[in-house]
């Protein structure tokens, strides 16, 4: 009893008294506002909106483990890829609906997160060692997938096209707004789950463990259990992004699923938006999502002084890198936190 009281008071100190309902309300408002977006956007912008949503979903997942759980992951590609490969494998090899494949992917990814997390915590890896271990797991998946016949080696999977549009098979015309709505629903659900998680006893305990593991343990909180729960939830959300990715792009291969670029894509929006905040990952994704299209457009018809770069790739990721450095040096708490500090201080 006293435990709950203590953690509740500690957690609510820096925040307004009951921020959770306000967050939930904001999420609902966002959902309503975003619903008509695919009908208003020109078709060419639709793919950008989709990228933003997938980025955001991955990063919301990463943020739970690394922001709220305090365990810096450099290998979220493991969970993304497991979600993607599980659903693709079930769909292509056994004709299982992507919705069921998505659920299966969630299961596989969270079980893997718990097992690998248990090993990492059992052997008391932290900080750099923990990050490197998650990275190593993702790379091992990539190498295994590249060289294993069971999952088509380096070729990966193409999702077979159905004749008709179908909700059951999650297949629509390429420009259909349904894709947007599904991704939006998944993102809204993930955000709501984040808030509900933070509001729950479990989430409060997870925050306590992050802030001071020894103190939390001294209060009788089973540290390892709450860390593993946090990891499983984080893996589940990121794996949903992977499963949806396959359905939207109709293709997956080992590099797209498990490559280190995927882990970086899960990290960047949260870091730029604000690690350990509900809205940081979404804000970061909105900033990063359109960048690659903008640079691609720029380099397709470059101005005079950039003419020698026509048709080259790499500029977008270079800008990601510059942004990352600047944000860490200037606003290490992320853009969302900086804005909140400045304008929404009570």
């Amino acid at each position: 009893m006293t435990q709950t009281a203590t953690t509740d008071r500690a957690a609510s100190k820096p925040l307004p008294r009951k921020p959770w309902n306000r967050h939930l309300l904001a999420i609902a408002v966002l959902a309503v506002l975003m619903v008509p977006v695919p009908l208003l956007l020109p078709a060419s912008q639709q793919s950008i909106a989709m990228r933003v949503l997938i980025f955001a979903l991955m990063s919301v997942g990463w943020n739970i483990m690394s922001g709220f759980g305090g365990m810096f992951s450099f290998g979220h590609a493991s969970y993304f890829g497991l979600g993607a490969y599980t659903s693709a494998w079930l769909l292509v090899e056994s004709e299982v609906s992507p919705w069921i494949g998505m659920a299966a992917g969630v299961l596989v990814a969270s079980v893997f997160a718990v097992v690998s997390g248990f090993l990492a915590l059992r052997y008391r890896l932290k900080g750099a060692y923990f990050a490197l271990a998650t990275f190593a797991f993702a790379e091992m998946f990539r190498l295994l997938a590249t060289n294993t016949d069971l999952v088509n080696r380096a070729e990966g999977y193409h999702v077979p096209l159905k004749v008709d549009e179908s909700w059951w098979w999650m297949q629509f015309a390429p420009t259909s707004p349904n894709y947007f709505w599904i991704a939006l629903a998944l993102l809204i659900a993930a955000l709501a789950i984040s808030v509900l998680f933070l509001r729950s006893r479990t989430g409060q305990f997870a925050l306590a463990v992050r802030d001071d593991q020894d103190a939390a343990a001294a209060l009788g909180i089973p540290v390892i259990r709450y860390k593993l729960l946090t990891m499983a939830l984080s893996a589940a959300i990121t794996s949903v992004a992977g499963a949806f990715y396959v359905q939207y792009y109709l293709f997956i291969d080992p590099d797209l699923a498990f490559g280190s670029a995927v882990s970086i894509q899960a990290i960047l929006p949260a870091v730029i938006g604000g690690v350990g905040t509900i809205w940081g990952p979404v804000l970061g994704a909105v900033i990063l999502g359109p960048l690659s299209d903008m640079t691609a457009t720029l380099l397709r018809n470059p101005p005079e002084f950039l003419a020698f770069l026509a048709g080259r790739g790499g500029l977008d990721v270079m800008i990601y890198g510059v942004l990352l450095i600047i944000i860490i040096l200037v606003l290490p708490q992320g853009i969302y936190s900086a804005v909140r500090e400045r304008w929404f201080r009570p």
Partner: protein
């Protein structure tokens, strides 16, 4: 296997915890510590010997196993050099440097450019790459990383990640993704201990060992090296005796980056020159650094040889899989069983 695990875990946590309680440490305890070191080394040697013997039994012919061992040790020397720079940076600045491989890639492209358009001999370009990378490393530490010293580990990790994204993609932007090659004049196949190897591999190995020896001498015998080791051991203490720690941070980062630069030149004739080549070396170097013990320069060299060996023996034990897979398996095992590295505490 069970025996190995037991031996490792019983000595696994010894060094750091024993050192933190030195107040009460008796002579008997410290002797036990030494015994634990020796034992863990013996276990490492035993595991490697077993792996080598098993490789001979598994391989279709002994020549294949010999070839794998020779190739592995030769490239392992280069891994060692790359990792020495990385581990030095970790030991002194406490930074997990994700940009190390990108620096190597930059040196690779400088070498390629000097060879292909200026007609230099590949190894001669080291006179350019090492100083350029030294300067670049110095500038990066002073200009970017110094702002994040003492901040949480993630911040520094993310900054170096940002630097690597910028460098690697700048190469991609300016040179394109086409793979290129650097040809070594007079390169030929040479017989080594019953196996064969390209002369370029042997020269890379020898060059890496010479540079590693030089670095070791600098660290052990010069005033700068002493200052670097002092900062690594205790930076506040070093500051108190009058060492300019900020200068040492920058110089250490520069030296580490110069190692990556020199290694970039050495491997130029062995690898395809493309922006992503550096990332591969970065991954391997991390593994080597953890195996050798973060901050342990000699451990990095030995770890490099072990990982080179593991990579090549992996092709025998796990046919059809990427050689890197066995590297990661070794890595995860070491992380779990002996996170402070195979060679005891950090320097």
């Amino acid at each position: 296997m069970a025996d190995h695990q037991q031996g490792v875990s019983s000595s696994g946590v010894a060094p750091e915890e024993d050192l933190s309680t030195t107040q009460t440490a008796t002579v008997g305890q410290s002797r036990r510590l030494v015994d634990a070191f020796t034992r863990s080394r013996l276990i490492v040697v035993a595991v490697i010997a077993t792996a080598v013997v098993l490789a001979y039994l598994r391989a279709d012919s002994p020549v294949i196993a010999t070839q794998a061992i020779v190739t592995g040790l030769l490239i392992g020397g280069v891994y060692g050099l790359v990792a020495m720079g990385l581990t030095l940076i970790f030991g002194v600045l406490d930074i997990v440097n994700f940009a190390h491989g990108a620096f190597l890639a930059v040196a690779l492209f400088i070498t390629w450019w000097l060879v292909s358009s200026m007609g230099f001999h590949p190894y001669l370009t080291m006179l350019a790459t090492a100083p350029i990378m030294f300067a670049l490393g110095y500038a990066v530490q002073r200009g970017i990383l110094s702002g994040a010293m003492g901040k949480p580990l993630e911040n520094q990790l993310l900054i170096t990640l940002g630097i690597s994204l910028v460098l690697e993609n700048a190469l991609l932007l300016f040179f394109g993704a086409n793979p290129r090659a650097v040809a070594l004049p007079g390169n030929q196949t040479v017989g080594v201990l019953g196996a064969v190897a390209d002369l370029s591999r042997i020269l890379a190995f020898v060059g890496a060992l010479i540079l590693a020896g030089l670095l070791f001498l600098v660290l052990q015998r010069t005033r700068l090296g002493t200052a670097i080791r002092a900062v690594a051991a205790n930076d506040t203490g070093a500051q108190l005796v009058g060492i300019d720690t900020r200068r040492i941070y920058a110089l250490t980062f520069a030296i580490g980056t110069a190692c990556a630069g020199a290694a970039g030149t050495l491997v130029a004739p062995l690898v395809t020159v493309e922006p992503s080549t550096g990332a591969l070396f970065n991954i391997v170097a991390f593994v080597v650094v953890v195996i050798g013990g973060m901050g342990n320069v000699v451990g990095a060299l030995v770890g490099g040889l072990i990982i080179g060996l593991a990579e090549q023996l992996g092709t025998i034990f796990l046919p059809g899989q990427s050689p890197l897979l066995s590297v990661f398996i070794v890595f995860v095992l070491v992380l779990f069983l002996r996170p402070q590295g195979l060679f005891g505490r950090t320097s």
